[in-house]
Symmetry: C2
Subunit: 175 residues, 2 copies
Amino acid sequence: MPIKSLIRTIPHYPKQGIQFRDITTLLLDPVGFHLVIDALALHYKHHHIDKIAGIEARGFIVGAALAYKLGLGFVPVRKAGKLPAETIGHDYALEYGADRVELHLDAVTEGEQVLLVDDLIATGGTAQAAAALIQKLGGVVVGCAFVIDLPDLGGSQRLADSGLKPFSLCEFEGN
Amino acid sequence: MPIKSLIRTIPHYPKQGIQFRDITTLLLDPVGFHLVIDALALHYKHHHIDKIAGIEARGFIVGAALAYKLGLGFVPVRKAGKLPAETIGHDYALEYGADRVELHLDAVTEGEQVLLVDDLIATGGTAQAAAALIQKLGGVVVGCAFVIDLPDLGGSQRLADSGLKPFSLCEFEGN
């Protein structure tokens, strides 16, 4: 996939030993950005999807453009304390510490088919927490779409094992 | 503009006396979200634009979908410490305290025409700081596009006075 060649690797970011996969160089490229959205749209062409949920903050970029392309509404999954109306939240463990994602109570209704979108899947903790919120509201997670998978971190396998149907446009080895 | 009827007002958020204009109800609506992007695209149809810069985080949603629609690349203007490569930053004053936005050094090149996008213009401090970053890199701010203007807070007037050409799809009185 030519998309991969537009992704920049930043060594030792945000800390020693981590190879950070930076999609800003891909987003910056008009053809690359268009290709990302069109490739995701093509993959989900025959799926019934009611709305797109994007995970803050890079998932907003990919998810919102995909929602526009597919003619769907967009729901932001945000970090704690960012959504103004009534929310539900889900806490999850990080390597060190914990984090929390939130969703507006009216963002998803019973039986709706929701496609979850983020830029990258690593250990999958955030995506699993976001999926749990959608399911708590009665929504069905049709799939989880990413630009990049880091399969060595096991997140996509974990999502697959939970029936969350991950799909990514490209993979990078290592962390 | 029917867009306005899809925006929810949350009284006293994030603090007493503030009427928060919440676009999540608009984004949630497939027709409303599509209309927002198409209305912005129509407004800028005859402008020469090289790329879209969206301000974190809600500006990512509107800006990325607009970039997709217009076939342009997308540049994220982020809060301090969020961008992985080399950045420039701009500090600006808030009502209480200060904040900072950052841009990758390679996000804009000399002479490029950039459209700045956010969901809402209030006092205009963030938009002015983001515009300053684009200009520091040699870019030209073609305009600043918003879904909502709060004209009583004077931000759009301030941007206009600075030659930053603000445009909004709808207005709300008060704060």
